[in-house]
Amino acid sequence: MAIVPIPVSGALVLQQLAQLVVNGLITGTILALTGVGVTLVFGIQRIANFAHGEYLTFAAYVGLLVNTGLSQNLVVATIVAVAATALLAVGLHFAVLRPLAGRGLVATSLITVGLGLMVRDVVFLVAGPRIRKLNIDQTAVFDLGFFRISPGQAVAIAITLVAAPAVAWFLARTTIGKSMRAVADNRDLAAVAGIDVERMGTYVWLLAGALAGVGGIMFAVVQGTFDPNLGFEVLFLIFTTVVLGGIGSAYGALAGGFILGLAMELSTWQGFFGGLEARFKPVLAFVTLIALLLYRPQGLFGKARVL
């Protein structure tokens, strides 16, 4: 996943650091928000949703349609994309995943793979494979002194400042948020405590879809250009986030997303022995995932399993 680099003026290493921190926080937000959705789905529905990346793709293209096709501004486009993706997620849940529940993890994973292929290729068929972009003037630059940001990044930061606290508050303070976390943590206990597990199962798809919608728009806006392969490229990073945070732990996904995003960006900092080449950033994520699965599969906040 490539963040459009803003040229660093001079060779000021610190300035690059600040820049990378900003990039990292943005990447981190995308991963954190989408990760919360995926991890809760995993915890509540016991599904590894291999189609989730395509939800982001879907969101980006709905945003594209509204933004460039219907000439609405980005705010409207984002809202419509978020709503549409939430509906997509919940729709697939009712139409396919719920009727086919209980077939076992592998069977359900294969089904989500199939759904992902369908969503992605419908987008391909309808919108074509060429590269697209949303209506943002990517050539402008906001110079904030210590670092610069593109308009895309400005939008992303705005979304971050709204969405991240909102999600954290939702998870911590609202009944639904707390209930979801409870079900993801211990389904039986939550049921005994009177939580409507079935309804939480539906809500979690709405949440995951909405968050994927936010993530998809952010991705499109930050990357500048995108094609229908957007989601697939990000899926793997989202899974890494989820495993890092601990499968089923929403706070873990938030933390994991930021950690991973920052780690990936900061790894290219010149201050770290010249820094990693940018194109190898995903390798860092791969290595992290494998190391986690090997030595600490429960991640940061997940539960260790015994026998």
Binding site: V96, P99, R103, S109, V113, G114, D121, F124, F280, L289
Partner: protein
């Protein structure tokens, strides 16, 4: 091309045979030992790339390069297996996807070695064209000539390829079937259902899983090499992660618990694959050639979902023996 053209059917046959071997590799890992390997394509890619690199850069004879490719697939299996086999099903699926992605990522980003996104044709650097299947073409031509002397008309390369691939597939299925019914197969079937019980029975479960993984990797590697030889020029996109799910679909179509159902699944799949590529009647004619690829993938996804929903035992399986209840 249309349905009456024998070249179309030969292409179907070759693809069916190659994908059948790929699916057989997955069968050993998943249907037999219960390992949900979602990164099977990595074995194909590693073997194909190893072979091509050895032929193109080191002028290795094809047979040696092919064997080296299989060894590369085995090494990948060992490397992936050592950490991954201790994980439970969902983690294993994710870990194998990760493994597959790493292989593809490396293939894309080490252009000096692999030709990068351009693929095998670029292995000798810009400006040079690298081909590795010259030896194979010569081999096929020799067989064609021999058969021509025997039968009269000289068969096409695709005809010979199809015959070779199918002969191999049949022999390999017979071997796997034999193994399935042996004590080794019994242990694997036990592991598939309840590995704790098998451990308590004194069997080294990790070793058995590794053996299934390695055997599947060898078959996958063989399929990868054959695919490379058939298309002559390949890039990382020819070994995209979707191929793993082609293999799953083939297993599901035929019937997941029967090795002998694989040819049926492979043929059905190949009809879908080649049909969307070459046939031109309605409704396929609505899509231009560029869109056909997306249509094909859409159908693969739809079939995966449909079969899992309505007929998980496939065309030939029976409901009782379903093993997907993990």
């Amino acid at each position: 091309m249309d349905l009456g053209n024998p070249a179309f059917w030969l292409f179907v046959a070759v693809i069916a045979g190659i994908y059948g071997i790929m699916a057989l590799g997955l069968y050993v890992q998943f249907s037999l030992a219960g390992l949900p390997n979602f990164g099977h394509v990595a074995f194909m890619a590693v073997a194909a790339y190893a072979m091509a690199i050895l032929v193109v850069r080191y002028d290795a004879p094809l047979v040696l390069a092919g064997l080296a490719g299989l060894v590369a697939a085995v090494i990948l299996a060992l490397v992936m297996g050592l950490p991954a086999l201790r994980l439970r099903a969902d983690y294993l699926a994710i870990a194998t996807v990760a493994g597959g992605e790493i292989v593809r990522y490396l293939a894309m980003n080490l252009p000096d070695l692999t030709g990068g996104p351009i693929g095998s044709i670029g292995m000798l650097g810009p400006g040079n064209i690298a081909m590795f299947n010259g030896g194979w073409q010569a081999f096929l031509d020799a067989i064609r000539a021999a058969l021509g002397r025997l039968l009269g008309p000289v068969p096409t390369r695709d005809a010979v390829m199809a015959a070779l691939v199918w002969a191999s597939l049949v022999v390999l299925i017979a071997l796997v079937h034999r193994l399935e019914r042996s004590p080794w197969g019994r242990v694997e079937r036990g592991i598939r259902e309840d590995e704790t019980a098998v451990i308590a029975a004194g069997k080294n479960v990790v070793a058995f899983k590794m053996q299934a993984l390695v055997l599947g990797a060898i078959l996958g590697g063989l399929a990868g090499i054959l695919l490379a030889l058939e298309i002559g020029v390949f890039s990382p996109d020819d070994y995209s992660p979707t191929l793993t799910f082609y293999a799953y679909l083939i297993l599901i179509l035929g019937g997941m618990n029967r090795a002998w159902a694989i040819p049926l699944g492979a043929v059905l799949f190949s009809l879908l694959y080649s049909g969307t590529r070459f046939l031109n009647f309605f409704p396929l004619s609505l899509f231009d050639s560029g869109s056909r690829a997306f249509l094909r993938l859409f159908l693969v996804g739809a079939l995966l979902v449909a079969f899992m929903a309505f007929r998980p035992q496939g065309v030939l399986g029976n409901r009782q023996q379903l093993l997907l209840e993990k």
